[in-house]
C-alpha cells in the first residue's frame, strides 16, 4: 500500500493540487492520466489504468478527479486507495465546506497540510477528523459569500416555524470549523427491485446508511434511539409482527453498542464532520409493498404502429409522494417517432433513439394515485419479434421522508454538555432508487 503521488484535477485537466510522496513517478503522470481518462469509453472499467509501470486509481467527485498513482502492483490495494481518496474528498468537504475547484483554490495550503498528515511516504497514516485536527494549523476559507438567503432559515425570534423544521438540502454544506452548533442525521436508503412480467416481486433489496454530520464544537456524547422493534438477521427467528428488520448491519468502530441489544440505542461521540455510523442491508421481505407497479399493454394498431399503454401506480402511503420519477422504457430498434397521450400536464415524455428508449418523466407522484400514458411508436421495420424487444422499464425516483426498511430515529439526545447554547438537531430521511426494473 504505497501511494506515489496524489493529485486533484479539474474536469478540464488543470492541476489544483499535486503532491509527490515517493519521487518514483514523474510529474508528467498528470498529463498521462488526463489523456487516459478522457480517452476512456463507457465500456472500459475506469478503475485502474496503467501506463508503463505506473498505475492510476481515481475517483470522480464534485466535478474533480482525485487521483493516486502507485508503482507497487503487488502490494497496493485498489480498495484502500479508492477508500482513501473518498475519505480525502470527505475531509476536504468537512474542512472547506464543499469540494469544488473554487474551494480548493482558496484552501490549497490547508489541503496540502491535510495530505501531509494523511500520508507519509505513501503510507496512509490517518483519515480520522479527530486525529487530524490536532495537527492542522491552517484555517479554512469558506467559498460562499454571505447571502441574505442564509437568513431565510433562521427561525424568527426563535419561534419554531413550520418552515424551519426542515433543514434545507444545502444547509450541511459548509466548513465544519465555526458556525452554528448543529447536528444532522441522515438516513439514506437505496432500493433495488426487479419485478417480473407477471407483477411478481423477483428481487428486492435495500441498502441503507445512517450518516451523521456534526457541527458541534465539542464532542459531547449523543444517544440515538432507533425503532425499538428493530430486529437483525433471519426473519424466521423473529416470529410474527410487523417488525422492522435488517439482514445485516455494520457500525462505525466508534459507536458504543451497550444499550443497543436491550433498547436499540446507539451511543456515540461524533467527531466534527461527516461520518457514516451505521450501514445495513435488507434483501427480500420488505415491510412495505414496492413503491411502484406497472400495468403494461402492448399492441400493434392497424396502421402498423406499436402502441404501448402504461398504467403506473404509486403504492406509497397517501401522505408521502415520490419526486423526480423517471421511467425509461426500451423500445424496438429503428423507432423513428413518438406520439404520446399523458394523463396529466406535469408529465413529459421523449424518445431517445440512440438509447432505443422512451423516457417518461413525472415531477411529483403522490402516494396512492395512478397515472397512465399511451405511447404510439412508428417503427418502420415492425416485425412480430418487435414486441419482444420492448424491454424492461427502469425507474429512477426519490422518496423524501420515507425509508423503505421502515427504520426511524426515535430520538436524538445530546448529553447536557458544555457547548454554547442549544444545538439544533436535524433528522432527514430519503430513499433513492438504485436499480428499479419492471420487466414486461
Amino acid at each position: 500500500m504505497m501511494i506515489s503521488q496524489v493529485f486533484i484535477l479539474s474536469s478540464k485537466g488543470d492541476r489544483l493540487v499535486y503532491k509527490d510522496f515517493r519521487g518514483d513517478v514523474g510529474s508528467d503522470a498528470v498529463g498521462i492520466f488526463y489523456d487516459k481518462v478522457t480517452a476512456l469509453t463507457g465500456d472500459q472499467p475506469p478503475v485502474v489504468m496503467t501506463h508503463k509501470d505506473v498505475h492510476f486509481v481515481h475517483v470522480w467527485q464534485g466535478g474533480l478527479y482525485l487521483v493516486a498513482t502507485t508503482t507497487a502492483a503487488a502490494s497496493s490495494s485498489p480498495f484502500a486507495i479508492i477508500e482513501f481518496l473518498n475519505r480525502l474528498a470527505a475531509l476536504i468537504k468537512d474542512y472547506c465546506g464543499a469540494l469544488s475547484e473554487k474551494t480548493l483554490q482558496m484552501n490549497f495550503a490547508l489541503v496540502y497540510e491535510l495530505l501531509d498528515e494523511m500520508l507519509d511516504f505513501g503510507y496512509v497514516q490517518s483519515t480520522s477528523c479527530d486525529v487530524l485536527k490536532n495537527f492542522i494549523q491552517t484555517e479554512a476559507l469558506s467559498a460562499r459569500p454571505f447571502s441574505l438567503f442564509d437568513l431565510a432559515n433562521v427561525g424568527l425570534f426563535g419561534a419554531d416555524t413550520q418552515q424551519s423544521k426542515v433543514a434545507p438540502g444545502s444547509a450541511a454544506a459548509r466548513p465544519m470549523q465555526g458556525g452554528k452548533s448543529e447536528i444532522f442525521v441522515d438516513v439514506i436508503e437505496r432500493m433495488s427491485v426487479v419485478m417480473g412480467a407477471n407483477g411478481v416481486l423477483m428481487k428486492a433489496e435495500v441498502e441503507g446508511e445512517v450518516v451523521v454530520k456534526c457541527f458541534l464544537p465539542s464532542c459531547s456524547e449523543i444517544r440515538m434511539g432507533l425503532n425499538e422493534d428493530l430486529s437483525i438477521g433471519d426473519p424466521q427467528l423473529r416470529g410474527y409482527g410487523a417488525a422492522v428488520r435488517v439482514d445485516e448491519c455494520h457500525f462505525h468502530p466508534a459507536v458504543r453498542l451497550d444499550e443497543f441489544d436491550a433498547h436499540r440505542i446507539l451511543r456515540l461521540s461524533p467527531s466534527q464532520g461527516e461520518q457514516s455510523i451505521m450501514q445495513y442491508r435488507l434483501a427480500d421481505h420488505l415491510p412495505l409493498a414496492p413503491p411502484f407497479r406497472l400495468f403494461p399493454a402492448i399492441e400493434k394498431d392497424k396502421t402498423g404502429r406499436l402502441l404501448l399503454f402504461f398504467k403506473l401506480r404509486c403504492d406509497l402511503p397517501p401522505k408521502s409522494s415520490a419526486v423526480n420519477v423517471s421511467a425509461t422504457v426500451r423500445v424496438p430498434k429503428g423507432c423513428v417517432s413518438l406520439s404520446q397521450e399523458l394523463s396529466s400536464p406535469d408529465q413529459s415524455a421523449e424518445l431517445q433513439p440512440h438509447n432505443r428508449a422512451v423516457v417518461w418523466n413525472i415531477a411529483r407522484f403522490a402516494g396512492g394515485t395512478q397515472l397512465s400514458a399511451l405511447f404510439k411508436l412508428d417503427v418502420p421495420a415492425l416485425s412480430s419479434a418487435s414486441t419482444l424487444e420492448v424491454g424492461p422499464v427502469g425507474l429512477t425516483f426519490e422518496l423524501p421522508k420515507v425509508t423503505a426498511s421502515g427504520l426511524h430515529v426515535r430520538f436524538l439526545r445530546l448529553a447536557p454538555a458544555q457547548h454554547r447554547g442549544p444545538a439544533r438537531r436535524w433528522v432527514r430521511y430519503v430513499t433513492h432508487s438504485d436499480s428499479y426494473a419492471i420487466r414486461i
Binding site: M2, D116, Q125, R190, S276, P392, S435
Partner: protein, 992 residues
C-alpha cells in the same frame, strides 16, 4: 542578530530594485521579485501569504526555484503554520538545488530537538522527503533519537523515515543499525508505531528477498495480532498484509490466527475486509476440511463479500474481479448468494460482464431455474457484447447442469426466433457445444437452425453451423445442398470455415457415398490444389488418402466418437490462481495477472504460493505446474475452448483465462510437427519416388510431447476427426496407389519438407565488402550467419595482386552489439595470386559496445603482409537472435502491453507470397519464434518474439491477409531503435 542584519540588508537591496522592477511588473521576473520582497518582509502575515503564493505557483507547475534562499530564510519561525508551508516548498525543490538544501540542515537538526513533538516529527518527516544524498548523513543522528522518542507520534514518523532513508541509501541504513531499531518497534506499546514499523519493514524486505528482516515467528505474530485490534484501519491493512506472508506451522496455529482475524470481516473499510479475506483464504488451506471451524469460516466469509457489492460501480468491479478468483478457488463460499450477482439494468457494462461470469461459475442444479430466467432476460438487452455473453452463458449452463439442458435448448430456440442477427449466431455457436456434450439428443432443433443459414455472417457461427450439418448429415435431407451452397464462395471463407466445410463434406460423403461423390471431389480439389493454406491442404490430403485407400478405416477415423467436452468454464490455470489468491485485494487481482507480469525488475517480486494442507504434505489441490500440461491427461475430456471469450479485454489471446493454449495454433503446430518430425527421419531419396511405404512414418512418428492429442482436439467441431486420425493405428497402405493421390502426396511431402523440417538459418549471399582496387589487390566478399548458435563471419579472400599474401589478421571497431572475433583469422597457408580462400571467423558478442549509425554497421580492419585495410559492412540483425528467444505467452502479452504504443513501429512487407504458416516456420529458422496465431476475418496474425544477444526482447505482430502478398509487421521493443534493423531481417528472411 546576524540574520536580522542580513535580512535588513537584503531588504534594502530589494528596495532599490523595486523601483526599477515597477517597469517590469508584467514580466515573469517581476512577479518573482515581488514575491521575493514579500518573503523578506518582517510581517509574519505577509510572509505567510507570500509563501502561500509561492506554493500556489508551484502547484500549477511554474518554476519558483529561484526563491529557494528566500523561502528557506522563513524556516526559522515559531509559527507552525508557516513552518509547514516552508517545508512543503523544501520537499519540492530540494532535489533540484541540493547545495542550497544544505542551508536548511541546521534548522532541521535544531527542530528535531524542539520540545514540541509536532515540530520534532515534522522535521524528521520533511528531512526524509528531501531526497538529497548529502543531507542523509546529517539525518542519521536526529533519526536515531527520534526512533527512541518518548512521543509515539514522533516514533511512528521516524519509523517511516527509515524506509525513506533506505530508499535513498540502503547501505547507510544497514550500517547505522536502523533495521534493528525498526524491528524493536514491532514490540512498541503504541499500535500506530507498530503498524508503521511493519509497513516500513515490509517494504525494505521486498528489496532483500532473502533477508530475514520480517522475522515472523509465533511471538511476533502474537504481537501483531494484539496491535491489530487497537490500531487505525490503515494500520490494520499493513498488519494484515504482513500476516498474509506468514506460513503457520500447523493447523492449530492457523485456526487460532483465523479466529483472531475474523472480526475484521465486519469492518466498514473495504480494504480491511479484503486484506482479512486474503489472510483467511490463505490460512484456510491448512485447515482440515472436516473441521467444524472450517465450515464456520466458510459461512463467515460470504456476508462481507456480498456487502462489497453495494459500493459504487468502480469498487464493485474491483470486488467482482476478486470474487471471481475466490469463487474459482472455493465456490462453496458463495453458493447460496446467487441473487446478488444478478445484473441490474443500470450497471455499467464492465460490471455486468463480470457478474455474468460469476453467475455461471456459481450455477448448479439448485439454482439453475433462477439463473436461466435471468439469462433469458439479459439476452434481450441492448448492449451487444453483453447479449452475446448472456447467450453463451445459457449454453454453458446446459453443459454444466445436465438437468437443465433441455430447458436451455428451448430458451435458445426462443432466442433464435427473435431473428436478431448476433443473437442467432451466438446461439448456434453454443448449440454446437451442446451437441458435443449430449450427442444424439436434441437433433430435433436442427430444422430451426437450418432456417437461419442465410443470416450467418460471422466465421465462428458459419463454422458451427457447418459442423452441425456435417455431424448430422444423415438426418438432414438436403445436407448436400446446404453444404454445396457454402462451397460456392469457398476461397472467400476464413480458414476456420474452410476446414469445417472440408470435414463436413467428407463426413457427408462417408454417410451418403452415392449422391455426394462429386461434392467431395470438388472440395478436396479446392482444398488441395487451389489453396495455399498448409493446414487446409494437409487436412485435404489426409482425407483424400484415407478415402482412396481404405474407406472403412476412413469411416472409423472420421466418424469416430468424439471426446466429450468438459463442463468447467474458462478457469484460470491453477498455479496462477494460487498466486492470485495470495494477492487478493491488490492491483494484481484486478488484472488477473501475477505481479511479475507488470513489474519491472526494480522491485524483487516473489511468487507467492498457497500453503499446502498440513495433513497430506503435498496438497492434492495444488498440482505440480509441470503436470498441468495436458500431456499425461487422458484425451477423453477436453477443456472446451474459451467459450466465453473474454469479451471485456479483447486480448490477442485470452491469457487471463489460460488453461489450454488456444487450440487454433496448437492444432496447426501439432499437425505440422507431426508431419515434419516424420519426414525428418527419412532418407531423402525415397521421398522423391513414389514408394508405397513412404507415408508410413507419418503414423509411426510419435507426436512431439509438447503437442498432445488433447490440444489438437481442442479445435472446434471438426478437429476431433483429426485427433482420431492421428490416434488411429497406422493403416497399411496397399501398393495400388492411384496416380492422382500419389501425385498429391508428393506435393504433400514437398510441403512437409518445406514447412516442418528445421530450416537452417537464413544466410544472405556474400557481398563485396572490400574491392581490390582499394586494398592493393585484396578483395573481400563476405556475409554473416548464425550456425549452431554461433555467429560467424564468412569471407572469401581473393588475391588479385601480383604477389603472395600472408599474415592475415582482423580487428573490429567498437560496435552496437559488442561483436568481436572469437579467435584469430585462420588463414594458414599463404594466398597466391589469383587464388581465393574461404574463411570462417566465429564471433562473440562480448566486445566493447558503441552505438553505430546505422545500428548494424560494423567497421573492420584487415591486415596482411602488405598493409592494413579498413572497410565497413552491415550485418543482418537476425544473426543476433538467440535460440531461447521464445517468450511465454503470458509474459509476451504482459510485455506487449507494457511497452508503450509509441515504441511500436509498423512496416509494410510487400510481395511476399508465403502464407502465414510458411512464413512462421521460415522465421523460426532465424530464431524468430511464433508464440500464437490468431485468425480474424481471414487475416492471420502471428505473434512472435525474438531476443537479441544483449538481452533486448523484440515482440512482433505479423498480419497476413489471405491472398494479399503484402504483410504488415508491427514491432514493439523497449529499445525502438532496433526495429528498423529487425524489419530488414524480416524482409530478408521472408523474401529468400
Amino acid at each position: 542578530m546576524q540574520e536580522w542584519a542580513n535580512q535588513l540588508c537584503e531588504n534594502r537591496q530589494f528596495g532599490s530594485k523595486m523601483t526599477d522592477s515597477k517597469y517590469f511588473t508584467t514580466t515573469k521576473k517581476g512577479e518573482i521579485y515581488e514575491l521575493k520582497a514579500e518573503l523578506n518582509s518582517d510581517k509574519k502575515e505577509k510572509k505567510k501569504e507570500a509563501v502561500k503564493k509561492v506554493i500556489a505557483s508551484m502547484t500549477v507547475g511554474k518554476d519558483v526555484s529561484a526563491l529557494f534562499p528566500d523561502v528557506v530564510n522563513c524556516m526559522q519561525t515559531d509559527n507552525l503554520e508557516l513552518k509547514k508551508l516552508v517545508y512543503l516548498y523544501l520537499m519540492n525543490y530540494a532535489k533540484s538545488q541540493p547545495d542550497m538544501a544544505i542551508m536548511a540542515v541546521n534548522t532541521f537538526v535544531k527542530d528535531c530537538e524542539d520540545p514540541n513533538p509536532l515540530i520534532r516529527a515534522l522535521a524528521v518527516r520533511t528531512m526524509g522527503c528531501i531526497r538529497v544524498d548529502k543531507i542523509t548523513e546529517y539525518l542519521c543522528e536526529p533519526l536515531r533519537k527520534c526512533l527512541k522518542d518518548e512521543d509515539p507520534y514522533v516514533r511512528k514518523t521516524a519509523a517511516v523515515c527509515v524506509a525513506k532513508l533506505h530508499d535513498i541509501n540502503a547501505q547507510l541504513v544497514e550500517d547505522q543499525g536502523f533495521l534493528d531499531t525498526l524491528k524493536d518497534l514491532i514490540s512498541d506499546s503504541n499500535p500506530m508505531v507498530v503498524a508503521n514499523a511493519v509497513a516500513a519493514l515490509s517494504e525494505i524486505a521486498e528489496s532483500h528477498p532473502n533477508s530475514n528482516l520480517l522475522d515472523l515467528n509465533p511471538q511476533t505474530i502474537n504481537k501483531l495480532l494484539t496491535a491489530l485490534n487497537e490500531c487505525t484501519e490503515w494500520g490494520q491493512i499493513f498488519i494484515l498484509d504482513c500476516l498474509a506472508n506468514y506460513t503457520p506451522r500447523d493447523d492449530r496455529e492457523s485456526q487460532s490466527i483465523c479466529e483472531r482475524v475474523t472480526p475484521r470481516l465486519s469492518h466498514a473499510n473495504s480494504a480491511v475486509v479484503l486484506s482479512a479475506v486474503k489472510v483467511l483464504m490463505k490460512f484456510m488451506e491448512m485447515l482440515p476440511k472436516d473441521l467444524d471451524y472450517y465450515g464456520t469460516l466458510l459461512k463467515k466469509l460470504a456476508p462481507p463479500l456480498v456487502t462489497l457489492l453495494s459500493a459504487e460501480p468502480e469498487l464493485q468491479y474491483v470486488a467482482l474481479r476478486n470474487i471471481n478468483l475466490i469463487v474459482q478457488r472455493r465456490p462453496e463460499i458463495l453458493k447460496h448468494e446467487m441473487k446478488v450477482f444478478f445484473v441490474k439494468y443500470n450497471d455499467p457494462i464492465y460490471v455486468k460482464l463480470e457478474k455474468l461470469d460469476i453467475m455461471i461459475r456459481l450455477a448448479s442444479q439448485a439454482n439453475i431455474a433462477q439463473v436461466l430466467a435471468e439469462l433469458k432476460e439479459y439476452a434481450t438487452e441492448v448492449d451487444v457484447d453483453f447479449v452475446r455473453k448472456a447467450v453463451r452463458a445459457i449454453g454453458r449452463c446446459a453443459i454444466k447442469v445436465e438437468q437443465s439442458a433441455e430447458r436451455c435448448v428451448s430458451t435458445l430456440l426462443d432466442l433464435i426466433q427473435t431473428k436478431v442477427n448476433y443473437v442467432v449466431q451466438e446461439a448456434i455457436v453454443v448449440i454446437k457445444d451442446i451437441f458435443r456434450k449430449y450427442p444424439n439428443k436434441y437433433e430435433s432443433v436442427i430444422a430451426t437452425l437450418c432456417e437461419n443459414l442465410d443470416s450467418l455472417d460471422e466465421p465462428e457461427a458459419r463454422a458451427a453451423m457447418i459442423w452441425i450439418v456435417g455431424e448430422y448429415a444423415e438426418r438432414i435431407d438436403n445436407a448436400d445442398e446446404l453444404l454445396e451452397s457454402f462451397l460456392e464462395g469457398f476461397h472467400d471463407e476464413s480458414t476456420q470455415v474452410q476446414l469445417q466445410l472440408l470435414t463436413a463434406i467428407v463426413k457427408l460423403f462417408l454417410k451418403k457415398p452415392t449422391e455426394t461423390q462429386e461434392l467431395v471431389q470438388q472440395v478436396l480439389s479446392l482444398a488441395t490444389q487451389d489453396s495455399d493454406n498448409p493446414d487446409l491442404r494437409d487436412r485435404g490430403y489426409i482425407y483424400w488418402r484415407l478415402l482412396s485407400t481404405d474407406p472403412v478405416a476412413a469411416k472409423e477415423v472420421v466418424l469416430a466418437e468424439k471426446p466429450l467436452i468438459s463442463e468447467e468454464t474458462d478457469l484460470i490455470e491453477p498455479t496462477l490462481l494460487e498466486e492470485l489468491i495470495c494477492h487478493i485485494g491488490t492491483l494484481a487481482s484486478v488484472y488477473h495477472k501475477p505481479p511479475s507480469a507488470f513489474v519491472e525488475g526494480s522491485r524483487g517480486v516473489q511468487h507467492k504460493r498457497l500453503p499446502g494442507s498440513s495433513g497430506s504434505g503435498e496438497s492434492v489441490e495444488s498440482p505440480d505446474p509441470g503436470s498441468a500440461t495436458a500431456t499425461e491427461a487422458p484425451p477423453a475430456v477436453i477443456p472446451s475452448q474459451d467459450l466465453l471469450g473474454d469479451l471485456l479485454n479483447l486480448d490477442l489471446t485470452p491469457t487471463s483465462t489460460t488453461g489450454p493454449p488456444p487450440p487454433s495454433s496448437g492444432m496447426q503446430m501439432g499437425a505440422m510437427d507431426l508431419l515434419g518430425g516424420g519426414l525428418d527421419s527419412l532418407p531423402p531419396v525415397p521421398l522423391r519416388t513414389d514408394t508405397p511405404q513412404s507415408p508410413q512414418p507419418l503414423h509411426q512418428s510419435p507426436s512431439p510431447p509438447d503437442h498432445s492429442p488433447t490440444e489438437i482436439g481442442g479445435d472446434l467441431g471438426g478437429s476431433p476427426a483429426m485427433t482420431a486420425g492421428f490416434g488411429a493405428p497406422p493403416a497399411a497402405v496397399p501398393p495400388s496407389f492411384t496416380a492422382p493421390v500419389s501425385g498429391g502426396l508428393d506435393d504433400l511431402f514437398d510441403l512437409g519438407g518445406g514447412v516442418g523440417m528445421p530450416v537452417s538459418v537464413y544466410v544472405p549471399p556474400k557481398t563485396l565488402w572490400l574491392p581490390a582496387m582499394k586494398a592493393k589487390g585484396l578483395e573481400i566478399t563476405g556475409t554473416f550467419g548464425r550456425r549452431a548458435g554461433v555467429v560467424q563471419m564468412e569471407m572469401t579472400l581473393t588475391n588479385k595482386a601480383m604477389s603472395v599474401m600472408t599474415d592475415f589478421a582482423v580487428q573490429f571497431n567498437r560496435n552496437s552489439f559488442g561483436l568481436a572475433p572469437a579467435g584469430p583469422l585462420q588463414v594458414l597457408t599463404p594466398v597466391s595470386p589469383n587464388q581465393s580462400i574461404e574463411v570462417v571467423l566465429p564471433l562473440n558478442t562480448v566486445g566493447p559496445v558503441m552505438k553505430m549509425e546505422p545500428l548494424n554497421n560494423l567497421q573492420v580492419a584487415v591486415k596482411n603482409n602488405i598493409d592494413v585495410f579498413y572497410f565497413s559492412c552491415q550485418y543482418p540483425i537476425s544473426m543476433l537472435f538467440v535460440e531461447d528467444g521464445k517468450m511465454e505467452r503470458q509474459v509476451f502479452l504482459a510485455t506487449w502491453k507494457d511497452i508503450p504504443n509509441e515504441n511500436e513501429s509498423k512496416f509494410q512487407l510487400n510481395d511476399c507470397h508465403l502464407n502465414s504458416d510458411a512464413a512462421s516456420s521460415k522465421l523460426q529458422g532465424s530464431n524468430i519464434f511464433t508464440i500464437a496465431k490468431r485468425t480474424v476475418e481471414g487475416q492471420d496474425m502471428l505473434y512472435q518474439s525474438m531476443k537479441l544477444t544483449n538481452g533486448i526482447w523484440v515482440l512482433a505482430e505479423l498480419r497476413a491477409q489471405t491472398g494479399n502478398p503484402n504483410y504488415t509487421v508491427s514491432l514493439r521493443c523497449k529499445a525502438p531503435e532496433v526495429s528498423q534493423c529487425v524489419f530488414q531481417s524480416y524482409e530478408a528472411v521472408l523474401k529468400n
